[in-house]
């Protein structure tokens, strides 16, 4: 058995940064020489992310070939409206309503490996191959690694350290508590060994198991860009002069250099006959202001803050700002910063809080009109796009989506804090998500040195299945980007549309709710990633 297709995910990778790092510039030279070669000898396209360009919906769309309205994952946090309360929990793999490419390929008898992808825990029971999930604490890697005995094999890899490999909530919490220059520097350093851990597992699997579909995701790109954007973005980094700034730039450059080395080694290990694809879940850009959306909705009378008694727990809860509201007197609110959405509370039983279903359309129209009136001191609108959910999240899972999706003028994530002013300049610009990520194809059968029209993130799943020699399921929304492949290759390997995917289990209910401490931890984590002010 040999690797046929290698997929390397890079969370948050964006061409604005990668083009800079692959150019030969005075001082730094070519930071990513291998990626430069790949881009020169391969085909590339911008990759349009999901309507809310966010890790959970975007990676799940990439893995399922379906849009969020179908796969059902919209955010890190899942919430359920339960009468006079709202229960929050985390999304996990069981919430994904559509089949992933890992399962589709496994059913076809292909051996697969998927490393560090979010929402792959718990792993699918029909997996034919190997899975080590991403975005979970090290303590739960063993149980969520597939097959189970593979975890013990991981421990035989030299320098394997699950604490370096997995998300460490406490470490991230420590970093976020005081974002001093030193902490920020440590944060960048923290990700250097993490990527090496994932690289080593991928390298091990390629050499020991040679799965036909081999996939690994490096998420440090996103994390660095959130915390150190001004040292990475070409325009912002051009103005660095202070010793600390230059040191941070050097550290970030070192990260990308090392990453480039991992990419080169993995592609070499996979062999010359392998098609290689690189993609990100979204791109990156600069956010310069804070938009306190729930404060605005409060001013307009849509929500009421929860009265708190001032206990330590209350203070902690308020500080975490996990939509801590008086639910009985709230009819529209934003649940989480990362959602960039507004949820309308609809009463489904007599006596329940929320609006009557008959009032829904009128209320939503009024809400849209009010949101359009959210303007800065110069009268310029802060929210540039307001989408109704049936427009951006059509599908059987639409009822779990926010009623409105907002796009801010700087593409930032909203704040849900109870704090004034409602609109404020950031003291320091930061990184935020841009809808255009990257898609690169490289290897035999791929056109050389071309850039094609922008593709959609759902195209990646179709492309990977095509590349590995499988039919594209008829219910996949993504298309194979044929313009990225040589005509001779397409003639020899035409794209086939095959049977639809298998049905998978539906969503859980809100019963496995999480505790206050955990909510705080999640929010700290999201804060660390820049989803909170």
């Amino acid at each position: 058995m040999a690797v046929r297709t290698l997929f390397i995910g890079m969370d948050g990778a964006t061409f604005t940064v990668l083009d800079h790092l692959t150019a030969d510039r005075p001082g730094e030279g070519v930071v990513m020489p291998f990626l430069k070669k790949v881009m020169e000898e391969g085909a590339r396209a911008k990759l349009r992310s999901t309507p809310n360009p966010l890790t959970p919906p975007a990676w799940v769309s990439l893995m399922t070939g379906r849009t969020p309205g179908h796969h059902g994952v919209f955010d890190f946090i899942r919430a359920e409206e339960l009468g006079d309360d709202v229960y929050f929990t985390l999304y996990d793999a069981r919430d994904v309503r559509t089949e992933t490419i890992w399962s589709v390929a496994s059913r076809a008898g292909m051996k697969v490996a998927a490393l560090n992808f979010p929402f792959t825990a718990p792993p699918p029971k029909d997996l034919n191959g190997f899975m080590v999930p991403g975005f979970i604490p090290w303590k739960h890697l063993r149980r969520n690694t597939a097959p189970k005995e593979f975890y013990d094999r991981l421990k035989t890899i030299p320098d394997f350290d699950p604490k370096e490999l997995a998300w460490d909530f406490d470490r991230e919490k420590q970093s976020v508590e005081e974002l001093s220059d030193e902490d920020r520097e440590q944060w960048v350093r923290y990700h250097l060994p993490r990527e090496m851990q994932w690289f080593k597992i991928a390298d091990y699997l390629i050499s020991e198991e040679a799965p036909e579909l081999m996939a690994v995701m490096f998420d440090g790109v996103d994390k660095l860009q959130h915390q150190a954007w001004r040292f990475i973005d070409p325009e912002l980094a051009a103005n660095l002069t202070e010793p600390y700034e230059l040191r941070m730039r050097e550290l970030c450059v070192d990260y990308f250099k090392r990453l480039d080395g991992y990419l080169e080694k993995l592609v070499a290990a996979a062999g010359p006959d392998v098609q290689v694809f690189f993609a990100s879940d979204h791109g990156f850009t600069t956010t310069w202001e804070v938009v306190r959306i729930n404060a605005y909705l409060h001013e307009k009378g849509y929500l009421k803050w929860k009265d708190t008694s001032g206990t330590d727990a209350d203070i902690r809860r308020d500080a975490s700002m996990f939509a801590n509201l008086d639910w009985q007197n709230t009819i529209a609110y934003c649940r989480t910063p990362s959602s960039n959405g507004i949820n309308i509370r609809v009463s489904h039983k007599p006596g329940e809080s929320g609006i009557h279903p008959d009032e829904y359309e009128d209320l939503r129209d009024r809400l849209i009109a009010d949101l359009r009136e959210f303007k800065d001191e110069n009268g310029e609108p802060v929210i540039t796009e307001i989408h109704k959910r049936e427009t951006v999240f059509p599908g059987e899972a639409m009822e779990d989506a926010p009623d409105l999706l907002l796009v801010l003028r700087d593409r930032g994530f909203v704040s849900i804090k109870n704090k004034e002013p409602m609109l404020e300049q950031r003291e320091e610009v930061a990184g935020t998500h841009h809808p255009d990520g990257i898609f690169i194809a490289y290897g035999p059968g791929v056109k050389q040195g071309v850039e094609t029209a922008r593709r959609n993130i759902v195209d990646v799943g179709s492309t990977l299945l095509y590349s590995v020699g499988l039919d594209v399921p008829s219910d996949f929304e993504g298309k194979v980007p044929e313009k990225m492949f040589e005509p001779e290759h397409l003639a020899k390997h035409p794209v086939h549309i095959g049977a639809a995917t298998n049905a998978v289990g539906g969503s859980k209910n809100a019963d496995d709710d999480i505790g206050e401490d955990e909510k705080d931890k999640i929010m700290e984590q999201l804060q660390m990633l820049g989803y909170m002010e």
């Binding site: 739960h140 063993r142 149980r143 859980k508 809100a510 019963d511 496995d512 401490d517 955990e518």
Partner: protein, 95 residues
């Protein structure tokens, strides 16, 4: 057919033992009804989320309604005895 309480107890102990295998937790006695998740097994709240996932997965019952067990009077419980979890699972999968 209902599963015997002793079987549930054994299954849960197996899940917990597997879960904590690498955690470095030192137990004075084997996991039993009186073992506490937070006090004895050093669970944090995210560990409880993963335990819920593992239990629902093992017993093939994705909607057990764990908030009934994890919440008392509108607040989250501070700790939980394994025996209570066993009884809860039994009440949900009986018949």
């Amino acid at each position: 057919m209902a599963i015997e309480r002793s079987q549930i107890s054994q299954d849960l102990a197996d899940i917990l033992n597997e879960m904590i295998e690498d955690w470095g937790v030192e137990l004075d006695e084997p996991i039993g009804d009186s073992t506490t998740l937070v006090g004895d097994l050093e669970f944090s709240s995210i560990d409880i989320i993963h335990l819920v996932m593992a239990i629902e997965d093992h017993f093939e019952h994705p909607k057990m309604g764990f908030n009934d067990l994890l919440m008392e009077d509108g607040k989250y419980v501070q700790d939980l005895e394994v025996g209570k979890v066993v009884d809860f699972i039994g009440s949900k999968i009986k018949g």
